[in-house]
């Protein structure tokens, strides 16, 4: 994560390439709607995994496609369960709904869930995140949804209790009928809880904050850390990118006391194309080897 233009995509590309070089099966997933990975690797990526180099595959998530697919699914379910006239003219509403706020980050969550499930055999999944606001919304979505779903669950249980009381008085017996709304809420709660646990578990999710040694970048990084702390997610590593010879990182060290710091030098040559990236990694191998211990232990 990080402010726009600090080098999030390049850092993700370099890290993925480095991990694949030391023998990991890596899948690099671009969740940034303005995809950069195709340009960085000079290789056309799509929403299907494509081999970039041995042990490294890449995907660029088509957010709009995920929203469309999700809405189509809901529409079909409505058609199946509603009476014909109630679901009449449904397309008109769904054309508007697809522009609703909140669906953007949900599309990313759907993609995240699907990829984590489908590529569970990969050693490392590297996600190149969207700019700050969307990324924070992405990580916040399970917690926020849980607040709502828990509230709705309590209300639904009250409704069911009343309904059972009426059935009991009217028919002199307790009719046990599965409430589909209740089942759906409970299913959502399970899914959001799982996601929340994945995000909060520092052994499963490692969040790298990318920044430059300038004050603006530091200010936004501070806000990112506050946003993540509010939802109980901790940082794994801070990558200070584009370090010049005369850059000082004392203020950054003070700010992120206790978090691993990785300084990546400014590259005179543009970091575009696989060869150029590989050369940069070879020249700075001692920096990239400072990966979180759990990952390196896995490499043996």
């Amino acid at each position: 994560m990080g402010k726009g233009g600090v080098g999030k995509s390049t850092s993700a590309a370099l890290n993925s390439l480095f991990l694949s070089r030391i023998g990991f099966e890596v899948l690099l997933v671009s969740l940034d709607p303005a995809h950069n990975q195709s340009d960085i690797f000079e290789k056309k990526l799509s929403d299907k995994p494509k081999q970039i180099v041995p042990h490294l595959q890449g995907i660029e998530i088509d957010q709009e496609q995920w929203i469309k697919r999700y809405l189509k699914d809901v529409q079909q379910q409505i058609r199946r369960t509603y009476a014909y006239l109630t679901s009449f003219n449904l397309e008109k509403y769904f054309k508007v709904i697809k522009h609703s706020p909140g669906l953007e980050e949900y599309a990313l969550i759907l993609a995240f869930k699907e990829i984590s499930r489908k590529f569970s055999k990969a050693d490392v999944l590297v996600f190149d995140m969207a700019p700050t606001a969307l990324s924070l919304k992405f990580f916040n979505l399970p917690s926020l949804s849980l607040v709502w779903t828990n509230h709705l669950l309590a209300l639904r249980k009250e409704i069911i209790k009343k309904r059972e009381l009426i059935t009991k008085i009217k028919l002199m017996k307790k009719e046990i009928e599965t409430d589909k709304v209740l089942s759906s809420i409970q299913k959502s709660i399970r899914e959001y809880t799982d996601l929340k646990q994945i995000f909060e578990n520092p052994y499963l999710t490692k969040i790298n904050l990318v920044m430059n040694p300038d004050l603006l970048s530091l200010a936004e990084s501070r806000r990112i850390v506050d946003g993540l702390n509010a939802i109980n997610i901790s940082l794994s590593q801070v990558i200070v990118n584009k370090m010049q010879k005369n850059s000082s990182i004392d203020h950054i060290v003070r700010e992120f006391d206790g978090v691993d710091l990785l300084t990546v030098p400014f590259s005179e040559a543009p970091l575009v194309g696989i060869d150029s990236l590989q050369r940069f990694i070879s020249a700075n191998e001692k920096i990239f080897i400072k990966q979180p211990l759990e990952i390196l232990n896995k490499a043996g």
Binding site: V74, T81, G102, Y106, T149, L155, I159, R163, K170, M172
Partner: protein, 136 residues
């Protein structure tokens, strides 16, 4: 259970009477001149007992219906609140994240229709309240 004590004998009788008067007795002809034996008499009695049981059952059901009317109204209100909470974005009310509404929407046809129905009476809250408490 609360309802039997809350319904007076007089009310119960009001419920039963019309049924007792208008219930047709099947296979019983009042114009029959001759009885063909004691078997007929017992079947007539059985029939009458059956009908009285039916009347009691209908009366009981009606009594029970009346007893739960207020709870049903309360339930309807709660379902409306639930509908408004989940699908409120469609009528401009703060609502949960869109995906929660959309995930629940396929199972909420009843609430959706109820919400639309409630719109008709939304401008007369007092009259609705009076009808709930049966005030003329």
């Amino acid at each position: 259970m609360e309802f039997p004590s809350s319904i007076s004998m007089e009310q119960y009788w009001q419920v039963f009477m019309p049924h007792i008067i208008f219930i047709p007795l099947k296979n019983v002809s009042l114009t029959k001149e001759k009885s063909s034996g004691p078997g007929d008499m017992s079947s007539l009695l059985k029939n009458i007992v059956c009908k009285i049981k039916d009347v009691c059952r209908v009366g009981d059901e009606m009594g029970r219906s009346r007893a739960v009317e207020t709870i049903e109204n309360e339930l309807e209100e709660m379902e409306n609140v639930f509908g408004l909470l989940v699908l409120g974005s469609f009528v401009g009310i703060p609502s949960p994240p869109m995906q929660i509404s959309l995930d629940l929407m396929p199972h909420m046809e009843k609430e959706l229709l109820l919400m639309m129905e409630k719109v008709d009476t939304a401008s007369q809250p007092l009259s609705q309240l009076f009808s709930v408490f049966d005030i003329d």
